[in-house]
Assembly symmetry: D2
Homo-oligomer: 354 residues x 4
């Protein structure tokens, strides 16, 4: 069976380069072309490479980058992965879906549209149905988004807890890596030996996206989940991996061990469908006193293709009636390109890529 031809948009950015890394040797998808703005046209990926997983990228360093051309892409590809910046993503992604291309986007532009789902397939694979209500769906074109990098880490652990105990309140503080701001992104003068307690729009995104992702799909609509969420976001001098401190109140009280067990044993649709990029264990619960840590746990996930796709949870503990824990996920893999790739795998498995 021949592979699905796919395009990578924004191939010169942090997320775009992760797309190339994750699609290299993919069993279902084949990169037809790498696309970016006029500025990068004609360059080789190697010239603009900013992802340090050297060995992984070696083979693909010589791929050439083309200017984004809707007609050409829609002719050659059924799928486009978008790592475009939000300001230009909106227009390009809309045009591609009109041209019959299934767009899996990492940009925020269309996330809050009523007919566009934010998919994290472990959590809300049934939301994918809503793309059938998009006007372009008949032509084979539609838009699926993945969540913001800081929301992504939350989703599976909260789903596991929601399923077992019901969710009432979530307070989350983030320790976010600099790669989340892209390249060049955060100036070193701002972050060396410092913490910046502000990431523009991030708290609002987390709060809005979390209740949508964990919401209920019914009668062609997504109804936001009913829990309260309060987010505080800060940038720390770390390369990759968003750490988050969680305080959660559930409807039904439980012990720390019961909460940990619910997360440890949680499995979702990607695990049942054995999607190629799905980690066997989506939530890894560590017992050590001082984990998860970005340096140690950012690439968690097995098998090899799922490296960086698992969420690591640690320090699961109780205070009064509240559950406290820390979680870590890879912001440009699970919370970026990998999130879009696994969404496309879900759509493929559900035969929605025509």
């Amino acid at each position: 069976m021949s592979k699905v031809q796919v395009a990578v948009l924004g191939a010169t950015g942090m997320i775009g380069q992760r797309f190339v890394q994750l699609l290299e040797g993919h069993p279902w998808f084949e990169m037809e072309g790498l696309y970016a703005s006029e500025r990068s046209e004609g360059k080789r990926l190697g010239e603009v490479n900013k992802v340090k997983d050297h060995a992984f990228m070696q083979e693909t360093l010589s791929r050439r980058i083309e200017q984004i051309d809707i007609a050409k892409i829609s002719k050659g590809c059924r799928v486009a992965f978008s790592g475009l910046p939000s300001d230009i993503a909106k227009d390009y992604e809309a045009k591609l879906s009109e041209a019959g291309v299934a767009v899996f986007s990492n940009a925020a532009s269309h996330r809050m549209r009523e007919d566009v789902p934010i998919i994290i397939p472990e959590v809300n694979s049934e939301h994918l149905e809503i793309v059938r209500t998009q006007p372009t769906y008949a032509k084979g074109g539609f838009i699926v988004t993945n969540a913001n990098c800081s929301t992504t880490g939350l989703a599976a652990p909260l789903k596991a807890i929601q399923g077992a105990f019901g969710l009432e309140q979530v307070v989350v503080s983030t320790y976010q890596a600099v790669s989340g701001a892209g390249y060049p992104g955060v100036p070193s003068l701002d972050i060396l030996g410092n913490v910046v307690p502000h990431i523009k729009g991030e708290e609002e995104k987390m709060e809005a996206e979390a209740v949508k992702i964990l919401g209920t799909y019914r009668d062609g609509r997504i109804i936001d989940a009913g829990f309260q969420i309060l987010a505080s976001c800060a940038r720390v001098p770390v390369h990759d991996g968003h750490l988050e401190a969680l305080v959660v109140r559930t409807a039904k009280d439980a012990t720390a061990e019961e909460y940990a067990k619910a997360m440890r044993e949680f499995r979702g649709e990607p695990q049942h469908l054995e999607l190629p990029t799905a980690p066997k264990v989506p939530i890894i619960v560590r017992e050590e006193a001082d984990r998860p840590q970005p340096l140690w746990d950012v690439n968690a996930g097995e098998p090899a293709r799922a490296k960086g796709m698992a969420v690591t949870v640690g320090r699961v503990r109780k205070k009064d009636k509240y559950l406290k824990f820390f979680l870590l996920s890879h912001n440009t893999i699970r919370g970026g390109a990998g999130g879009s790739v696994i969404n496309a795998e879900l759509a493929y498995a559900k035969r929605m890529l025509r």
Copy 2:
């Protein structure tokens, strides 16, 4: 009027060195001697100096360090400032108070004793009365502690809010500097480009100390404040300055601006008494989108003697019925040596140093 002779215990540590810095040229106190463990005896302070505020320390670098000798200290000093590690602090501090010395301690050893107050004079100067119930008080000896470095930053902002609106729930996540662990402290291999979501005993200390400090002094006892507090503590690669993300629910709802105003206009006993180390404005509320930051705000506080004694608050905002803000305070000045010094100033002003 002659100055009060004081001893510095643990003079070779991070806190001890800050004591020396803050007592240099003090209008009321004069360093009689610097004391530390046998290991450091005979060394000069300059040989062990690890505080980088070079200009400040220059004059005192040649002071010699002696071994701790209770008899000698109690003969020459009415006051001892203790930067001793907790394990040895317990014994030494008890012996000194028995020998008639007023001990102002930065160690945790005696903090939870019923007759020992944890004083942050802006917040609970009236708790100082409780030292009169200590068995050694008749001889002039007693123990006063200051709070853990991460609790200290919280205290004044929470007091301001408590006073104006009543406190129901506090959720706090910390971004703590490496100097909080002393020297050598945190190995660079653990923290370079990393965050460690665990500091032994820290969350428990914050949770227990905060309700004691903000509690009520009545009939010779301190009654813990009634609000709930949930803390998550993490270490970040920053030299000095503990940043904290706060989510607070008050008894009486208010707007973000009302909360900010209550903190901005807050003044305490040290401001009324014009204590030498008291900052004129104890809580500095910043309007910028991205403050406070350790690099910029750690030394906040005026006049010069109060550098590092003010707490900086920023991003005061509302979500649902919750107040959210960030705060920053200097962990080895306000949350360390400076905390003890201002406590001694309070006791001096109240004529309790006999």
Copy 3:
């Protein structure tokens, strides 16, 4: 006597902001205006401030920035301090000198012109004479440059050694701070936990400038010094302060102590003239095994106005017939704005500002 009115060009950059810091309360100069590109016009300095020496800057944060206007500047100021980027410095500085303004520039644009001196007044104050050969000098306008930030640190120690023992060969490797690249400058993704062994054009500048600065002024010309210099430049994750490792062969052999003594006792014209920004001791030689270090020594220099103006030297040692040592200097003060300010003070003291 009224002060000399001065303009600061490029006031929104790293160097421009240091100019403001250093000129605040200057005994001879008074800031008439702050100028920058159109983009910053109308902003206040506080809005663009990126220098963390908060206390110092407080008073000046409200100064307004104007667009660069040659006619207006030349009407109101006899002196302009330029922190402009090299590409636009060339033209603006030339026009200002034509308009009769004495320009003290931190940009590289005019440094290698035959009639423009690179002045480090401790080293080559006599080179200032060459400005009399500039065509605009009759009108009172001329251009004086200071050296590249990495060359500056070298100059005084090499001069001290050259004077006492003669210089034959200098091999220098640098460990340069990120502030040397301005703001936003070095992306954090490139330098966190990393070293970048390349700074565009830096090695060439060091090699060309060092022999010019240490050259001989004779008959209206500067003749390059005859020693060989070989530079390797790298960027390290440090905020401020360029550290350099030196290996030097002198004409006359000496002991490590003799070399150290020559540097320690070295004094130059600024010390004799007691220029306001001159450090009393221009080269501070440390005896400790592990100094100089950026964190500890970057602000060396006394009195207060000379903070960051001294060079710190350490680990003076011999191997075979070679002298080895490390040096550190503040790259945006001594190697930036402070270098221009002390040059203007020299010109003022020599009555060349008419």
Copy 4:
């Protein structure tokens, strides 16, 4: 053919853990046991693990650590790999060789003994012959050392140049990673945002070892090479990878391209013998303007087993008659455990392990 049983000494340290990583699945060697000081006895490797290459180490995390027992080791093992600290290495390694064990040591203790070679097999595999002069050789016991981590990077590039053009002078400055100091090693307070221009004994080791390694083996003795070497060593806030800036004068002058070619095409005995841990290309010469960098190049080396075993060279350029370049090598793999492993492979291939 059964594998050679080997012991790992000092298994809880940085180097010891790298030994375990590199010996996992080795085609010729099998770990019989992990040994360390009394303090670690009975612990599992996972409890003390400080090497972040998580995936690699997973399988071995449950291995138990035993106390060092010469009799037990010599009974079960023909080979011991030593990652012991220098102070205790001297005695243990001597005893093991007396007990008939071939010791491949990373410690400095025996390096300068006349009958102990410092082997970097690409450079001086013939020096291995000298172990035949060790008094214990008849019993099968001997000691082979690898070089200090900062010397190791130098060796192959200098050998390539020495062979083609002759070496006269080498000036080297280092930018060394914190893992070189072991764990806990460098305190974060000393190195965050800082550079420390001193590593005890390091410059002396580099200077003494380099001329021994590149020396000539003749008549049972090693005669030091005749070139001059001048080293300056500094620690930078980098996890792994020592970067070095080189300035070299050769006997025969050549162009930058000729120097680069000599290094690029250099192959040594490990490449000819196809030793398991040998990189196919021992010196990787990069053409980019800004390489090598620790973050990008530290793990250079192919195939998978040789990851971190190649030296990366970049910025090969000329100034006057001097060659300048930067090099990078992994300090705990190539410059640590990997260096000992490849030495043991060489001895195995030469049938010296009896």
